[in-house]
C-alpha cells in the first residue's frame, strides 16, 4: 500500500512538472501569431464593462483577454519588463502616458488615427492636452476628478474647499486618498502653489502645512474611501467622482462639494504598447469604444465623464444629473492636472513618509 503511495508521489511530481511545462508552452505558442483573433486588454478590473467586452467580441469575432492591474505604477513596471510587448491595449492615467512617452526606449506605439474611424467622435476639448500635445500616443477614454464628500448631519461647518479640511472641528473625522500626490497636492493648493511644485522651499512649507492636518485624518484609502463614510467611521473625505457617486448611493444625505480652489482632474487614455502583438485588433477595439452608444455605456457603468461628442444623445438623464459625475464647465477652468514629479519624487516620498509617521 505504501509502495503504491511512494510510486504515486514520484509519478505526481513528474506529471506536475511536465504538465506545467506543457501548459506553459502551449499557451505561449498560440500567442505567437499576429493573425489570430485575439486582443489583450490591460486595465483596472471592470473598467471596460462586461457588456461592452461581450459586444465587441460578438460584433468582431475577436476574443478579449482582459488582464487587470491595481495601480498605474504596477502596469509600468510590468510593461518595462515585458519591453513593451504582450499587451495590445492599455488604459491608464494621463501622467503615466507622459512618463512612458518621455523614456529613452519609448514603450508606446504612435496611434494611426486613419485606422480608427470613430476617432472623429472625440470631443476636441479633451485632445491636445499637456501630457500628449499632439495626441501621438493616446486616445482619451474617460475623465474623472477629485471632490469633497461629507455628511451634513455630522459636519457642522460650511465646506467650500480644500482649505476647510484643516478646520479643528474635523479632528479624527476625515478620509483622504492613500496617494502622496493627492494629499501633498492639497497642502500645496491651500498655500496657492502648483500641485506639481518642485521648489524645495515651497515643498518644505507644504510639509509644515500638512503637519497641522494630520490630527484630522482618520483613514487613508485610495480604493474604497466611500466605505468609511458610509460606515460612519469618518464624516468627510476627498475622493474620485465614481467613489463619490458610490458614497451617495450608500447614504443619499451626503453632500458633494467641488473645491473652490479647483479640482484635480485625471484623463484616462487608451494606448498601444510599442510591441503589441495584435495591432489591428487593438485599433478595432479602440474604434469600438469610441462609438457613441458604446461610449455612453462605458461611462454610465464606470461613472466617469464621457469624452466623446457622439455619446451625448445616448446618455441617460440620471447620469447627466449626477453631481458626482457631471461637473459644470466652469470647473474645467480651475482644473489641476498631475504631472510626473521627476527628481522631486524623492522629496515627495520623504514628506509622505514623515506625514504618515506623525
Amino acid at each position: 500500500m505504501l509502495k503504491k503511495r511512494f510510486k504515486a508521489l514520484i509519478i505526481l511530481l513528474t506529471v506536475s512538472l511536465m504538465g506545467s511545462t506543457l501548459v506553459g508552452c502551449s499557451k505561449s505558442n498560440t500567442a505567437k501569431t499576429n493573425t489570430e483573433k485575439i486582443v489583450n486588454i490591460y486595465t483596472w478590473a471592470n473598467y471596460v464593462p462586461d457588456t461592452v467586452v461581450k459586444g465587441f467580441e460578438k460584433s468582431t469575432g475577436i476574443k478579449v483577454n482582459y488582464s487587470n492591474f491595481s495601480t498605474n505604477e504596477e502596469m509600468l513596471a510590468k510593461l518595462q519588463a515585458a519591453k513593451g510587448g504582450q499587451y495590445d491595449v492599455i488604459i491608464c492615467a494621463d501622467y503615466m502616458v507622459q512618463i512612458m512617452a518621455k523614456q529613452t526606449n519609448v514603450l508606446l506605439k504612435p496611434i494611426d488615427t486613419s485606422a480608427i474611424a470613430n476617432y472623429k467622435n472625440l470631443d476636441k476639448a479633451y485632445l491636445s492636452q499637456y501630457y500628449d500635445k499632439t495626441n501621438k500616443y493616446s486616445v482619451p477614454y474617460s475623465l474623472g476628478s477629485q471632490m469633497i464628500v461629507y455628511n451634513p448631519d455630522k459636519v457642522k461647518i460650511d465646506i467650500k474647499g480644500i482649505s476647510d479640511l484643516w478646520d479643528p472641528s474635523l479632528k479624527g473625522s476625515e478620509v483622504l486618498l492613500e496617494d502622496s500626490r493627492s494629499v501633498i497636492g492639497m497642502a500645496l493648493t491651500k498655500l496657492g502653489y502648483s500641485i506639481n511644485e518642485t521648489d524645495p522651499a515651497k515643498l518644505a512649507e507644504a510639509k509644515a502645512e500638512l503637519k497641522k492636518l494630520r490630527a484630522n485624518v482618520k483613514v487613508f484609502d485610495a480604493d474604497t474611501p466611500m466605505t468609511s463614510l458610509i460606515n460612519g467611521d469618518t464624516n468627510i473625505g476627498v475622493m474620485w467622482g465614481s467613489q463619490a457617486s458610490a458614497a451617495l448611493k450608500g447614504n443619499s444625505k451626503f453632500k458633494i462639494v467641488y473645491p473652490k480652489e479647483g479640482m484635480q482632474f485625471e484623463t484616462d487614455n487608451l494606448v498601444i504598447p510599442v510591441k503589441a502583438p495584435h495591432q489591428q485588433n487593438a485599433e478595432k477595439f479602440i474604434n469600438y469604444v469610441l462609438d457613441g452608444k458604446v461610449s455612453s455605456e462605458v461611462t454610465t457603468s464606470i461613472e466617469y465623464i464621457n469624452v466623446t461628442t457622439a455619446a451625448k444623445e445616448f446618455m441617460p438623464q440620471s447620469v447627466l444629473d449626477n453631481k458626482a459625475i457631471y461637473v459644470p464647465n466652469e470647473e474645467f477652468t480651475k482644473a489641476k492636472h498631475l504631472e510626473d514629479a521627476g527628481s522631486a519624487s524623492k522629496d515627495y516620498d520623504l514628506i509622505w513618509s514623515e506625514f504618515k509617521q506623525q
Binding site: 513596471a77 512618463i99 482618520k218 460612519g232 527628481s343 516620498d349 509617521q357
Partner: protein, 285 residues
Amino acid sequence: MGKKKVDVLKGLTIGPISFWMLFFVAVPLLYIVFISFMQRGDDGSIVYIPTISNYTRMASSLYVKVFWDSIVVAFVTTVFTLVFGYPFAYFATKLKKYKIAIMLLIMAPFLTNSLIRTYGWIVILSTNGSLNHILLITGIIKEPLKMLYSYGAVMIGMIYTMFPFMVLPLYNSIDKLDKAYIEASKDLGASSWKTFISVTLPLTMPGIVAGCILVFVPSVGLFFIPDLMGGSNVMLIGNLIRNQFLQANDWPFGAALSIVMIFISLILILFYVKILGKKLDTEVF
C-alpha cells in the same frame, strides 16, 4: 558498492532543493543586492554608479521607527497567535477521531480570498456595523463604539490571518507527543502545571518555533491588513518598500530597504531557533 548508492540517494534528496534555491532564490537575491548599491536617476530609472547612500539614508529616526513599528506588530501578532493557538492545538489533538475535519475546518476560511474576509471584518467592526448594531439593540452600550481604524482592529485582522500558520505546526508537534511522558510525570507526583512546563513544553518546542517563524516573518512585511483595518495610519516597512517601487520610483532605495529587512528577519529567526531551543535543552531544528 554501498557507497555509490548512498551518494546517488544523497544527490537525489539534496539536489532538487539546492538547485531550486540557488536558481530561483539566490540569483534574484543577488540582483537585489546589486541594485541596492546603485543610484536612482532623475527620471526614475536605475543609474549604474555604485554608492552606499541607500544604506546610510536608513540611519534616520524616521526609517528606524518604520522598522521598529513593523517588528512590534509582527511580535505582538506572534505572541497572541501562540497564546490562543497553543490551547486550541492541544485540545484539538485530543479529538483524534476528527483529525481531518479539524484540519480542514481551520483551513477552509483561508481558501477563500483574504481581501473579502477582511472586508467582512470591516462590516462587523465599523461604527454602523453589525457588532455595534447588536450591542446597541441589546442596550449594552448607548453610543456606538469606534472599533475600526485602531491598533486593536489591526491586531484582530493580523491574528485572524496568521492563525493557521501557528496552529498547524503546533498541532503536528503536540500530536506527536507521546502521552506516556505526561503520565509518567504525573505518576512521579508532578502537578499539571509542572508537567506542562517541564515535559510538554520542551517536547513541543519544535512546533512552537516553527509556528513562531511562520507567523513572525511574513507579518513583518504584511501591510495590507494594517492598511485596511487601521486606515493606513501607520507607515510600515511593507508600505515603505512598496512606495519606493510604485510611487517614488526609487528602486535602489527599495532594494536596500529589502536587504536590511531580510537581514533583520534572519537574525530574529536565528534567535528563535538557537536561543529558544537551547534554553529548553532540545534540538529544535
